[in-house]
Amino acid sequence: MSVPRLRVPKTAKKGEVITIKSLIEHPMESGFRKGPDGKMVPRMIINKFTASFNGKQFFGANIQPSVSANPYIEFDAKIDADGTFDFAWTDDKGVVTKAQAKITVAAA
């Protein structure tokens, strides 16, 4: 799978709620589509997304074939301390794509 694209602020104030945007390139083959040979194209999607901060999951998504190709997910996180975000996308074959981002709490 491709390298996921992320937009995470580098700094935040203590207690601030930040918005994170994520996008990963993936065909998200729904399993309901016929290929050029007239046969159904087998389902192959990303079915799970998780976002953790300092090792604790704070957001996740269970994804179904109704989500568009190159799944884009936007969500929020409340920042109380410096730390590292871990993002993970899992596909139907069990392949996990991971990404990381760091954030520091700026003195207010």
Binding site: S30, F59, G60, N62, V67, A69, E74
Partner: protein, 154 residues
Amino acid sequence: MLTDLSRRSALKATGLVAGASILPALPALAAPDTVAVAMDAIKKLTGGKEPVKGKIKLNLPQIAENGNTVPLGVTVDSPMTVDSHVEEITVFVTKNPLPIAIAFLFTPESGKAEASTHIRLAGTQDVIAVAKMSDGTFCIDTKNCKVTIGGCGG
């Protein structure tokens, strides 16, 4: 083999419904089926509890030119504290082959009960968002989206 079977049963069913003309009856046949499946899926999630309106807001364009990628956003008015937060927002689609599009899982550390994504819509349909609160209650919002080009292969 599988496609053969479904076509045969579909033809048989249209014969029962309309008899005279097959073509106009086909969309009518497909519609109540998936809607019922979606409603059943909502009931399964809420465990028979009646979800209340308000609090949750589903953002969806009224008209989508391309059903392959329709921007969708959900927001729930919640303080997101340990005692009172949103646990899950599930998005149901009433005319796609599968009833659930996506489920967002939240924790108090999410800060806001807000998420966006892009979904596929097979045709003009109602999209329903159901939020599960930490106190066991449910909120619901429904939006209709007119789709000019469907987005599930086809």
